[in-house]
Structures are given as C-alpha cells and as structure tokens.
Symmetry: D2
Subunit: 338 residues, 4 copies
C-alpha cells in the first residue's frame, strides 16, 4: 500500500506512521518529496490487514492499495478462460450460449410452450423464476416449489438445461435439486451468506452484478464463491443504475470486455433487465456479442402484455426468432458459432 | 394507472388497449387529445396487477402509476409518528437518541471501554458488529457468537441497549436472543427473505437504505417488515452511491425530511458510513439533527488507526465527546432534547 | 399534460386546478378514481406554457408531460435518416465513417504524421483539438489559431475533412473558417449560446452528450441547433458519469440505438473519452458498430506516452491499424461498408 | 506522482518508465515490492506535465497524483476565510446572508413586490433571472436587457444588491453594468471561457457546482476565476444528479463542509434547485445552516403556480416568512447572526 502524508508533516509525525506500518507487518519505504512524504508499505496486501485505518491519524491524507484484491477470480491466477460445464453444455468456450424463457414461471402451458419455442430457435438453457424478488410485498412472489416442478417438467420434455434464481439460503438445497444453474440476482449481489451457500451446493452459479456494484466488487463477490470451493462461476452484466430514465438501467457493455480481461470467468449479458424495454433487447444483444460476451440471458414470453411480471421487457416468440437471426452475423464476426 | 398511447394510434389500437385494461379488472376512462390518447385505468393499484406489462403492446408508449405503492409505511395510513420502544427507551419521540460504538466488536476490552465512554457522554444504544459483511472474503468477518456474548456483557455492565447487524436468515434467531435491535445493512436492503425473517423475530428493526435504493424502494422494503406483522421499524439513511469520490458515499440528508413526511417511522442517520471520513462526521451530525432525524448511529473506537475494519470513519473518544457537545445547540434548536 | 391530485382533494380544490388549467389555455378533462382525481390537460405542450408550476398548489401531487418535447430532432417529424454532407463525404448513409487524430494538436510533425497514417488506414475525417477545455487552468490549453493553421495544412496535404472543438462564441467565426465540422464538447453540451452561434455558422455540428445529460436533454440541445436553422447535426455519445471508477466514463451504447430510433440524426461514438483507457477502445468500437452507430471518433497519437493531454486514452498507429481491421467484420455484419 | 507498474514487470520495462519520468522533469524514486514496483516521481505536479499519459505504456498500471491540483482556491494557500464584499455587504463573515427572489424576472410588478417582501423579511440580495438557460428552445428564455432594467429598478427602490445569471461571454459586460454579483449556472460550471470573462469583469462571482461535477473539479473551476485575477468568488452547492427521482437533484450538504475545509471561499446553498420541490426548501435551509453555509439562495415568487418557470420549486411570500423564522434558531446555534 501507499500511505500519503499531508504536506509539511513533521519528522515526528512521519516516524509515528512508519512505526504503525511496521507494527502491522509491512516494511515501510518512505519517499520524501518537495512538500509531501509518501510511504510505500511493502507486503502482501491480501494477507495483511489493510492500512486504510491509518487515515484516522491526522497526518495521513490517503492510503492507496497497490495490489488487486481478487486472486482466484483474476486472469493472472488462471490465464486460460474457464469453461463451465453443465452436463454436455459448455459455457465460455467457442460456442455462444442462449439462455431464454419467461421472467416468472406462471403455468405449465406458458412454460412448456416457451421452452419448446426457444429450444427450436437455438436456446440451450431455459430461464424462469420460481422465487421472485419483488420491490413491493404486494406483487406476485413466484410459484415456489410448484414453479420448480414445472421447470423440471420442461427439462424432461425439451432437454434444455434449467437456470432459476435462488433468494434464500434455505432454498439453496431444494433449488439445487431442480436447477442446473443457480442464479444470484442483482439485489443479492453482495448477500455473501447466500453466495457461500450456493458455492457449497456445487452447482454452477450465475452471479449478476449489483445495481451500483463496481467491477472490482463484482469480482470480489465471485471470489467469495471461488474461495468456498466452487469454480463454476459465470458473471452476468445486467445494467447499472444511473441518472438516465429512458431505460430502466444502463447496460454497461464495457464491463463485459473488462470482466473478460480481468477475469477468466465466462460473462453472460442480460439485456432484458439491462434496459427494461423489449424494443431495445435485440440491438443490445448485438452489442453484447460484439464486446465478447459468452452468452445471453433473455426474457421471452408467449404474450408479454399479459405477463404477471415485467411484461414490458419480455419479447414474444416472433421477436425472439428475429433476434436470434439478427445476432448470427455478429456471432460469426466475433469468431464464434451459435 | 395511466396508459399513454403513441401519437396517431388507430381507433382499433385504442380499443385493444381498453379491452386489456378491462380484462385486468380496471375501469378504463380514455381521454383523446390533439395527437395522443391517454387512458386512465380506475381501480386500486395495490390490489390489482400492474398494467406496466401493457407497454409490450406496440401502441402503448408508457404506463404511469398514480397511487403510492406503500400503504402501512405511509403517513396517510398512520398520521401520528411511530415511537419504537426498546425497553424504557423511546425512539421517534421528543428525545433525540444516540447510538454509538465500534464498527466491529474486536475484544472485551475494546468493547467495554467504548461502551462505558459512549454511555457517559449520552448514548443510550451500543452498536458493534459481530457479523460483518465485507467486500472481500479475505477481510475480517466478525467474531460471530463470541461478539454477541461480548455485546451482552457490555449491556449487563452499562445498561445500554444493543444494536447489531444480522446477515443471514439462519442467524436471526440467535442474534435476536442477544440484541435489542436488529440492523439490516445496505447490502441486504432488498434481501426480502432476511427482512421477513427479522419481521417475524418481533425485535425492532433498523433498516438501512441500499446504496442505490430510491426512497420509494426503501419504504417498500420497510413495508415488507410491516406487512409481516412487525410495526417496530426504523429507517436509516447511510449515504448513497454517486460519482463523487471525495467521500465514500453521498449522505442524502433531504431523504431524512422526505422519509419523515412520507412515512411515520423514525429516521436515524449514520454519518460514519455516510461519508467514510471521521473528519466530517461531527458536521454531518449537525445536518442530520437540523433535517429532523430522530437519532444518530455513530462509529466510535478507542484507537481508530488500529481498528480491524473501517478505522478511517471511526471517531475516537475525545472527538466523540466534542461531537456530542457540538450537536446540543442544534438539538435544542430543533425543539428536542438529548 | 396530466395533473395528478393528492388523495381526498376536496371538490373545491379540484375546481381550483381545473380553473388554472383553463386559464393557461388547455382544455381540462378530469377523471375521478377511487381515491384520487387526475386531470388530463388537452392542448399542444410544445406551444403552451408547462403546467409543472401547478405543483406549487398544495392539492397537486405531480404533473406529467405526455408529448415529446423535441420536434425537429424527432423521428416522427423526419422519418428518413438525415445524411450530413461534408463536401463529398456523407455521414449517416450506408458508409461507416472513421474520424481519427490526436487529442490535441501539438506540432506540425505530430499532426501530419497522424493525418497520413489515419488516412491510409481508412479515416475520412481528421480530429485534433486547437482549443482544449481543461479541468485545471494550469494544464495545456491548446495551440489556438496556430493549431487551426496546422489542421488546414493537414487537410491540404491529405484531403481529410477537419473536425475540431469550439469552446467560445467568439471563436465560432474563425474556427468555422478552418474546420469542416464544429465539435461541441461534453462540458458545453448545454451551453445554449454556443450552440446557437454554431447553428448560425452553417457548418455541420457534432454535438457531444453531456456527462450527466439525459437522452431527452441531449435531443433538446440538438433541437436548439435545428431550431436556429442548421439541419446538419450529428449526435455523439461519449460516455456518462457514473459510480464506476475502472473506466473514466461509462459508455452508454444503448443510447446509440435509442438516439437512432428517437431521432433521424447520425450518431457517432467516441470510445476514447467513453472509457478513458486505450486498451479498451478497440472493443468498444465493435460494440458501437453493432448498436448502429454511423461512425467513430477515435484519439490516435504517434506516441501516446508523451502526449501533452490524455495520453492514457490515445491509441498508437499500430493499435489503430489493428482496430480498423478488427471492426471490419462487424461493419459488414451490420450491412454497411467502411 | 506515483507510477504503479504491473506485477512482474521486467527490469528493462522498469528502466524505460524511469527514463520517461526523468525526461518529463521529475526525479524518479522506485520502490520494489514483493510482486510490484512503484515509482514515486518527485517534483511539483502543478507546474510539470502530468504523468498520466504514461499509462499508455503497457507495463504501467496506474498513475496517482499526490498533490492537490488547486492552489489559489485551497485553504493551505489562504488559511483565513475569504470575505467577499459587495458594497457594504459582507459574505463569508459572521453574518448569515439571504439571497432571494424569483426564478425569472417576469414583470415590474412581480419583481418589485417580491423585492420589497424579501427585504422586509431579512434578505440582503435580490435574485432574478434575466437570461434563462432552458432545456428546450421553446421555453421562456428570459426578458434579457429589460429584465436587467427591472433589477436595477428594484435595487434603486429597496437597496438590495442584485445577483443574476450570465449565460454568454458577450453578455458579461452589460450584465456587469447592472448586477452586483454574477451568477454562473450549473450548465456553465465548466464553460471556462465564460468563467474567464466573468473573472475579468471584476464583479464578485457566484459559481454553481455542475450537475455531475466532483468537488475537486468545482474548486478547479473556481481556480480559473482566481487565476485570472478575481478573488471574489463564492461557491454554490445546488444539488447533484443521481438516480433518485423523488427530488430533482440530490443536495450534497456534505459538500458544504468539505468546500469550507478545502477552500477559503464562502459557500452558498441553493435549496430550490437542490430539490426542485417547494415543500422541502425550508427543511433543507436548516441543514445548510447546520453544515456551515455562509448564505442561502432561495427562489421566491408572489404566486408560484403561475410562474413562467420552475413554479414547483418557488416558495410564496408566506412560506418564505416562515422559512426565515424557522432557520433563526439554527443560525444562532451555529454561532452566527442573520
């Protein structure tokens, strides 16, 4: 770390900081500038206590970290891209992956009809929420275990893999029994206890970025899962919260390229949450492909206007078909196949 | 709700929307303007399904809610301010409440020394984290049950009430057995399963605002607790995430006045998290008082430079004493007492 | 507009609002719901005074606009895409346009060397700042008129069109004499007097989006130029300011698709400002193409490490060559040519 | 500055950076850590070229500034608070200053009535916009020179000082002839040419913070005015743009305390723009006083519901009277007088 002292700190004040740095196990290396002294603190920042508390001293202006805080998630520690295997499906390899399905599982007919259709068009994973995190307690909270049963039914019929969100530590065990991939939503992006529980399930985990989570924090959340023994983590960009109101969120497509560079984990993009408008989804998908995403997570519904949740961001079957046709040239341009 | 149609929608397109509105149980009342038609949908928005999914129809431009989404949390439903009682302590009444203590419980000596000191200066509640949500899995995660034991010890000696954060649904039962007030942190602000579990414990709950949570969403999170049978909820403003980097967060003091107006719940301000800099805490406390907060939650440590977490935002004993002296004229100016 | 009254407003209170709406020239159409009344105010919102001031009345909760505020910039008013002609160059047609060059014009050698190189690789417009808006008064402010002279020299030699930023109303005349396209930077995105002056020059104008400008505001800024008689406006997305610190700005690529849909104006993307990191520029360019941008504005420097401004976001010649090769398959995938 | 190299940079790569640092006039002091080398670059950062361009080198990870970028605006350079004198009025001394008046100057009657009333209640400066920066070109743009004439009239009658916004370099001369204080609005916060022109006028300048301007950037904008020879600068916090939609802006009251600490300049708060809602203005004023503001800039209108601009944030005479009564105890608590 680097400890920046305030201008004109006395020699005694400098000595005091040097002593604290030593006490905390770092080797202090002071550099005296014209008006300000900085002290480089040599030592492994990921195993030593942070020196940030030193800013409590009046003569300390700032403390800066030098090393990256994530290890297992970093590209340095694992230069080859991670390929997450879900049965015979590979995510993060050369094949671009489509995950699609309704926001909420609503009924057997709704789910099966959707499953058949997205499979026909090229999806290999079926999404559908059985447990729904809703802003208001008065909104539809999902079908729960009945929803999981319907997802299993859809898998049995279509062979699609199943991804579904888990909201509670207590649900991890039975959701893991039904689902092929566990999804952590944006509201739980730093619910570390849930992350740890999902890690322990052994199931692949798709980890969404929080609404105002910095990329470093997102990778550190992934680090929680990796550090608890589960290497099968996928990152999912789903838009961040900004001042813009035209869209529900601002899809941060640069974050896709950054996550691919900083980390070895597959990156999936959720354009439906990312903009909250069905009419923009197809175009954002092209962007996601161009920036190097390994797959897409898209909300599809037989009749969005009657959806019990988030109809405004779900595309219908016909639009989904066109969308998949539309991204094909971009998948090819990016050197991959669908 | 109000459904805004696109300019020049055909009579047939208008009819289709009217039919959907009726089908969903609202009474449609169309108003035809020069170029655009709007349709007011009359009906209780909190019991009917939202019409937002109608934007999936190509002729629908936007859907606007009219009613407020929170009921139990609203001032309309409960015109008198709620006073939360914690034993003989009242929060939200005429007496201004100080909650203070270390970020993390680190040791018996650290905690008891702090407890004695903050009590002496006027605090009535002791804060201290036994379970810590840390951005990195490699950082100190709290003493857990041993931390709770030390908090009980401090209460036994000083008579202070105890507030501590709960991170996991599985911890609610035993944390409730030790703590007088359960704290929900910013990262779990929309972890609805944890909110419901805390509601069921019957303990008073202090609910922090999420890092990028709108005020409406914050009140809806409180609504989850109220709707699950627990009326003893306190709101806590702790800063929101913005582009500014001088402070760790941007303390939204307007939100204090807004929450007091929109809701009947007590509002507490956490200036330590709110700015992340010990040197600004005393001044922010004055602002919180002026804007009508019912109390403060302040991080105090015997030696911040050696704190195991967030030393940069903890004040030492001397500063805390000065801080309390400093706010007294403002508490008096606001017609309350300390 | 729609005026939403507070719940339980008295008939007298409703009448008062209706009277105000009439007085301001709208036809009021009240709709009475279960607990709340809304009043649709029929009339052209772009020619009548806004009703937003009515929220000053205690019984008015909110006022909502129905119509779009921009007219000339809207796709409705001009369904065909605008093609901006700069001599023989067309921007916004089927050909994808590359604008490239140094952040600042530094010297004849630097500029000419860059001009030759970017032309060779496929650029048709040379960028280069002669007047630089710098955060600090102590930073390099540009070569001014000497910079303009060098840009003219580069045009004479290479045939490239010239784009350069104008900072002051007083510079518009002489910058227009040298430049083919006037650039309005993000800091002046709502400097309406400068916009009007540029409109009057008759030169094509590239209008950057402000750091925290909503898309509606950006189009309204374009409306200022259009309404002052200059139809040759290009919009330029250059990243917005968010909480993320990995990049200097967050490039809002969804805004490209939105601007193309809402407006008929060409949209250019500036990935250099958009992320502030040379190592991400090539990937963001692919995303910009995929989302439908009509061109790119890229900072290129012979030796970025020695650039007098923003070296960290300028690419060198070799990187620029690779970048152009890299986007070709995406330009083809989007049905256009380079 | 501090140059942080990437882990495992070769000795040759380190040498290359050291040579560049020397070439740019700094003295390089490398410190070799376990995996990463940092190089402190000793030298005056405000007179040497920034080293940030060195991140263009592949082995450079980041470049960090050590020194503050503002000099004349800094508290270090000028430990005593600046008192701006406007005739016999002192701003930034022990007396708290009220600036009040309509958003726009609309008519002689409106302005004079307001001037008399705000003077009676304790204001010493009259605000009123003659030139209005409006988001849309179709909105009222101000009365211009006629507005200035009315402001002079109001001053002649009431003795109030006049503050009014200047939008254009070309207007500075004649606005300076009429106004006692020039106001730079948020949209022009980094319109440096306008700042320089205002500096040259010799008139005191009130500089609003931009919508997404960091505190450092705000102080650097002030530095532009100071460095061009005008020491009479007041900073004005008027809310920043965030994701919150309940208020128009998020008033950053912490910024008041920070600006007072980092700088010697007086700080004024504009709560009207700061929240965009008349019903919150009185409470925000108390907060502004508590955080150490030197004065307030408040929008007051005889009949806000009929105001031609921003009626929703203007308070009427009765509310303004109550507001002033309401802040008095807080002004006293802060050791000042009204």
């Amino acid at each position: 770390m680097i400890v920046v002292l305030r201008p004109h700190t006395s020699p005694k004040g400098i000595e005091e900081v040097i002593a604290e740095i030593s006490r905390l196990g770092y080797e202090p290396a002071p550099v005296h500038g014209a008006t300000q002294t900085i002290i480089a603190a040599i030592g492994d920042e990921t195993t030593h206590q942070t020196l940030e508390s030193l800013t409590a001293l009046p003569q300390v202006e700032r403390v800066l970290r030098v090393q990256k805080r994530y290890k297992l998630a970093s590209r340095e520690s694992h230069p080859e891209p991670t390929v997450v295997r879900v049965g015979d499906l590979e995510i993060g390899g050369g094949k671009f992956v489509l995950m699609a399905g309704p926001c909420s599982v609503e009924s057997e007919e709704q789910l099966l009809e959707t499953a058949r259709r997205v499979r026909q068009v090229g999806a290999s994973v079926l999404r559908g929420g059985a447990y729904k995190p809703r802003t208001s307690p008065y909104e539809f909270q999902g079908l729960g275990k009945e929803g999981l049963r319907l997802l299993e039914l859809a898998r049995a019929e279509t062979g699609l893999k199943i991804i579904t969100e888990v909201l509670s530590e207590r649900d991890v065990e039975h959701v893991s029994a039904s689902a092929d991939i566990l999804q952590i939503g944006a509201r739980n992006a730093q619910n570390f206890q849930l992350l740890i529980e999902c890690a322990r399930s052994g199931r692949p985990v798709l980890l969404k970025r929080g609404m105002s989570e910095r990329i470093e924090e997102w990778l550190l959340a992934a680090e929680y899962i990796l550090a608890h023994g589960n290497p099968n983590v996928m990152l999912c960009e789903r838009g961040i919260r900004t001042f813009e109101t035209y869209t529900r969120n601002t899809l941060d497509l640069a974050a896709v390229a950054i996550a691919k560079r900083e980390s070895h984990l597959p990156v999936i993009v959720d354009p439906s949450q990312g903009c909250g408008r069905a009419d923009l989804v197809a175009e954002l998908c092209k962007g996601a492909v161009a920036l190097g995403a390994d797959g897409l997570l898209i909300e599809v519904h037989p009749n969005p206007a009657e959806a019990v949740s988030d109809g405004q961001q779900q595309v219908d079957f016909e639009s989904f078909g066109r969308l998949v046709e539309g991204i094909k040239p971009f998948v090819a341009a990016s050197g991959r196949s669908l």
